[in-house]
């Protein structure tokens, strides 16, 4: 479980996160949703500690990130996996080497054990052995995402962060990646936080959702409550198209 309490963050005097509090549960998909530029990535990177927040608390199962010393943060990082918006695979290394990288850096395993673990992770995300020795530039975007997931889970993380896991993917592949993240989360009881502005993904896996609007938390709920809410910011976000707006109107009419 990760709790954030009243965090704020500004860049050069421009407030990007404004007093945000939220709780993210384990074994569940926690989503941060919002428009492009609303501050989702900044919020995620602040929770991880890639950005230093100006105020507030960030608790990893009760451990306050902002009070940790460098060494403790390093230890914590080994429990964290992250999937970046653009996959962020090391392009000078093969698929297999990418997944082995965290193991090489931090685990006392032998090369054979590391290879075995990396192959297990790659197989878990449904990658074929033919792809193991290719370079990231030689595989498709969907496959890159899978490799990035495999790399993120290679050290058995307790916390998994996914920044727009399905940006740039077609709807079918998106859903596959979403389901994969959900399965892994439940299977290993991980606290997973997913950034997204993809409605399909929200309706598919959003168990605990917070909406960020212009750096503020505007709404909190789940995929089951999203349609019945009358929150204005939420409705502006969810029902951006005329078609959806009409659907919503008829639904409200039917209800009353």
């Amino acid at each position: 479980m990760i709790e954030v309490q009243n965090i704020s963050k500004s860049f050069d005097g421009k407030l990007v996160l404004d007093d945000i509090s939220a709780t993210f549960h384990s074994g569940k998909i926690n989503q941060i949703i919002g428009q492009s530029g609303s501050g989702k990535t900044v919020l995620m990177k602040s929770i991880i500690g890639l950005f230093r927040v100006d105020s507030g608390k960030i608790l990893y199962d009760g451990r306050n990130l902002r009070e940790m010393r460098m060494k403790e943060i390093k230890e914590l990082r080994k429990e964290v996996g992250m999937l970046f918006q653009g996959s962020a695979l090391f392009d000078s290394q093969t698929v297999l080497a990418n997944v082995m990288f965290p193991l090489k850096m931090f685990s006392p395993m032998s090369v054979a054990e590391m290879t075995e673990r990396a192959e297990f992770c790659l197989t878990r995300v449904d990658l074929k052995p033919q792809a193991f020795n290719l370079f990231p530039s030689e595989i498709s975007g969907g496959m890159q995402k899978r490799v990035a997931i495999a790399r993120a889970i290679s050290l058995n993380p307790r916390y998994l962060f996914c920044d727009e896991p399905n940006s740039g993917l077609d709807p079918v592949t998106s859903i596959l990646i979403d389901r994969l993240i959900e399965e892994i989360t439940q299977e290993f009881d991980i606290t997973t936080i997913v950034n997204t502005h993809d409605m399909n993904s929200i309706m598919e896996i959003g168990a605990n959702i917070i909406l960020i609007n212009k750096g503020k938390k505007a709404w909190e709920g789940s995929k089951d409550t999203i349609f019945s809410s009358d929150n204005e910011a939420l409705n502006d976000f969810v029902f951006a198209s005329e078609l959806f707006k009409n659907v919503k109107k008829t639904q409200l009419k039917n209800n009353s």
Partner: protein, 247 residues
């Protein structure tokens, strides 16, 4: 002014992060030879070429511009040797390297930054500055003395070529000249300077790459900044070192 100071502070902090003990020595030792190959060995070709030509040109220019019977005939070789040792093979060569190696380092690290590969390293708990930058700095510093030595010898060979293939100067005059009143300390001086220059090129370029923010255009800008600023800094360091080591 305030911005410049901020930049200097950021640079110093980055160097602190860079010069800590590697998380994993095995990875460091694996990375170092790769960087030496990329930054040092792969530049030998261009250095050889330019040094030979500069040797030829400097020899010819010296002969043509000193047609004074008062000057001894061996002065050509002497001038060439000391110019190579004192300035050309360390300073001018380093300016060239700043262009080639500096832009390479800045664009490589800058691309890793904007594609979030550096964030990925940080997330894993790897000290990204140390992992990426230290092998480059050490690698280039180790290669510099070799490159300088190469350059000196190639320059002399170029001058020797003039003596062999033209009748502007006799070979014996030239050979006598390059041996006349040789001060070994000049060579040491050149090597010491090259260490500093290697450090400046690698660290300043890495700095601009590491703090790139944005996209491809910003990586381009970072790489230009890296070359321009490391060149300026090279010249400044050159003045200081000349003061300290020679005067």
């Amino acid at each position: 002014m305030k911005k410049t100071l901020e930049q200097v502070g950021k640079y110093v902090n980055l160097m602190k992060k860079t010069f800590s003990l590697p998380d994993n020595w095995r990875m460091f030792w694996r990375q170092l030879p790769l960087e030496m190959e990329k930054l040092g060995i792969n530049t030998v070709g261009i250095i050889v070429l330019i040094s030979i030509f500069m040797g030829v040109i400097m020899t010819m220019q010296t002969i043509m511009n000193t047609e004074n019977p008062m000057l001894p005939r061996y002065s050509t070789g002497l001038v060439l040797r000391d110019t190579l040792l004192l300035e050309f093979s360390s300073s001018i060569m380093s300016l060239l390297l700043a262009g080639k190696v500096g832009s390479n380092i800045a664009s490589e690290i800058g691309t890793m930054r904007v594609t979030e590969q550096i964030d990925a390293l940080d997330i894993m708990g790897v000290n990204s500055a140390n992992y990426l930058i230290l092998p480059k700095i050490i690698g280039l510093m180790l290669c510099m003395p070799m490159l300088v030595t190469f350059s000196v010898f190639c320059g002399l060979a170029g001058g020797c070529g003039v003596a062999i293939f033209t009748d502007m100067i006799t070979i014996s005059d030239f050979i006598y000249g390059i041996q006349y009143a040789f001060i070994p300390y000049y060579f040491t001086y050149s090597i010491i300077k090259s260490f500093f220059f290697g450090f400046v090129i690698a660290s300043v370029s890495a700095f601009y790459g590491y703090f790139a923010y944005g996209g491809a255009i910003d990586v381009g800008k970072a790489s230009t900044n890296a070359v321009v600023n490391s060149s300026i800094l090279l010249l400044a360091v050159n003045v200081i070192l000349t003061q300290l080591l020679l005067v």
